[in-house]
Amino acid sequence: MKYLVMLYDAPNIRESMSPELIEQMQTLLAELKESGELVGVEALADPSRTRTVKFPGSVPAVTDGPYAEVKEQMGGFVLLDVEDEQRAIDIASRWPPSVVSAVEVRPLMNPGADPQ
């Protein structure tokens, strides 16, 4: 089962991140890599670098930044392939709380159907 773990953090969190915190996250990622559960991990650039493409009148139009005024933005994501949802939640729960304010765990759709 694949899960997208979305990490929401406060802007500028990275400035204030201690080496210990960074190490803590790297240890967690190394462990997931070692267990064969890590499919991918990426950090996102600052929200101000976002470009939004909208389709007014079916014509794509590009604007700067996200429209929604939100304090917490997605700062990065981890793609996991784990046995069940509980395992994904357990992993998400291990993120250092001083780095993320919330973590969303969302299952991926399966491209196939179950046997019938």
């Binding site: 694949k2 890599k33 267990s35 559960e37 499919v39 399966n110 491209p111 159907a113 179950d114």
Partner: protein, 415 residues
């Protein structure tokens, strides 16, 4: 030499035999597995260029053993020589085929038991079985499971170190533990099958490779254990289920339910083979869950139409299956059969029972079956709501499309 087996196919057939021969003589399974992979690579490069050896199996064993020795030698240059000499109980490399001709099958069987060892997690069992017994490359397995190669490589190497850490030895399980161990092997093969089968829908993603790999492995196991009813049952179940593959989706990749499938598009040769297998085993041994499921699939396979199906017999078999291994999924299927025999309310009562059980991880299935049965009973708004709920909860894309379509159809009909 024109009727020769294709190289890739031959190498995959020989993989478990070569690995089995090596693993029987060395305690370091991971090193054996690496050595076999290197020998296979050497063969795929050298044989097409230099011609095939007289004895492909002997050639591979000799080369793999040499690689194994080389690996230990370079390893021991760095580390303590004696421990590795002790780990390597291999005599000198053989120039010829080892004489134990009868041992090939046992080696493959031991290998299967080893890869499906209960100390390994199911994903590890799956990956290791495909690699060590199936002879698939890590890249191929990674592609099948849609994960990066590094992720799959890690899973396999973890499985191998787990084997080393738990001290699993290369031998057949004892008579006493054998039934339990065989159950795990069958389950792993079944998982390989469903993994392939679940994703054959849609024009984009075809993973029929895993399905045929599972069938190939089940055939090997059936050849090794022809008298085991559950092994036969599993092979029959796979054949009978896979036979419907061509009719399970329409041209756009959308799901077609069993009742609406074009039965002419079923693979009737596979159905015949499955029916023959299951008929030969039923009644001769105490039936197990795979045999019963195969028997149900055989009844569907024999029916000329959904209406022509012997639902009474199917209902009976689901009851047997639920007694053998109680499972909410079985009871949901039973609900559909009960509705066909005794009407929709009989089915809905079973669905309500399943819903009340704790720990049911099937809520989208419950809603989907309820939608179907409510529609049968004439409650179209109720059916529509149930389909919508199921569509929201399912994580299968083709299924979601199918359920949305059912809901939209009922919406039009009730307007």
């Amino acid at each position: 030499m024109t009727d020769r087996q294709p190289l890739g196919e031959l190498l995959r057939d020989l993989t478990p035999q070569v690995l089995g021969a090596l693993a029987g003589r060395s305690t370091d399974f991971a090193a054996c597995e690496d050595a076999v992979q290197e020998a296979l690579l050497a063969a795929s490069m050298q044989w097409p260029a230099d011609g095939w050896p007289e004895n492909p199996r002997g050639w591979l064993i000799t080369v793999a053993e040499r690689r194994l020795h080389d690996a230990f030698r370079s390893e021991s240059a760095r580390r303590n020589r004696e421990t590795h000499e002790a780990a390597l109980a291999v005599s000198s490399p053989h120039a010829e085929e080892p004489s134990e001709e009868t041992g090939h099958g046992d080696d493959t069987l031991i290998l299967l038991f080893m890869c499906c060892h209960p100390a390994l997690s199911p994903p590890s069992q799956l990956a290791l079985t495909l690699r060590a017994v199936g002879g698939l490359t890590t890249a191929e397995i990674a592609r099948e499971f849609m994960v990066p190669e590094s992720t799959m490589a890690q899973r396999i190497s973890r499985a191998k170190s787990r084997i080393r850490a738990t001290g699993v030895s290369f031998r057949l399980p004892s008579e006493a533990e054998r039934p339990d161990r065989l159950r795990v092997v069958l389950h792993v093969l079944y998982l390989v099958f469903t993994e392939g089968h679940t994703s054959t829908a849609g024009p984009v993603l075809h993973r029929a490779d895993l399905t045929s790999e599972a069938i190939r492995l089940a055939r090997i196991l059936h050849r090794l254990l022809p008298d085991d009813g559950e092994v036969t049952g599993l092979l029959a179940l796979m054949l009978l289920t896979d036979a419907r593959r061509g009719a399970r989706t329409d041209a756009s990749g959308a799901l077609v339910p069993l009742a609406d499938q074009d039965r002419a598009a079923w693979d009737h040769a596979a159905i015949e083979e499955g029916i023959a297998l299951i008929s030969a085993t039923l009644g001769t041994v105490a039936a197990g869950p795979y045999q019963v499921q195969a028997a149900i699939a055989a009844i569907h396979g024999e029916a000329r139409s959904a209406a022509d199906t012997d639902w009474t017999q199917i209902l009976l078999l689901y009851r047997v299956l639920d007694d053998l291994s109680p499972n909410p999924m079985t009871r949901l299927n039973m609900a559909v059969a009960a509705a066909m025999v005794d009407g929709p309310y009989a089915g809905l009562a079973i669905v309500a029972g399943v819903e009340q059980e704790e720990g049911v991880d099937l809520s989208h299935r419950i809603d989907a079956v309820r939608g179907h049965l409510l529609e049968m009973s004439g409650d179209l708004p109720g059916a529509r709501t149930a389909y919508r709920l199921a569509a929201q909860k399912t994580m299968s894309m083709p299924e979601q499309r199918y359920l949305e379509r059912q809901a939209a159809r009922l919406e039009r009909e009730t307007e």
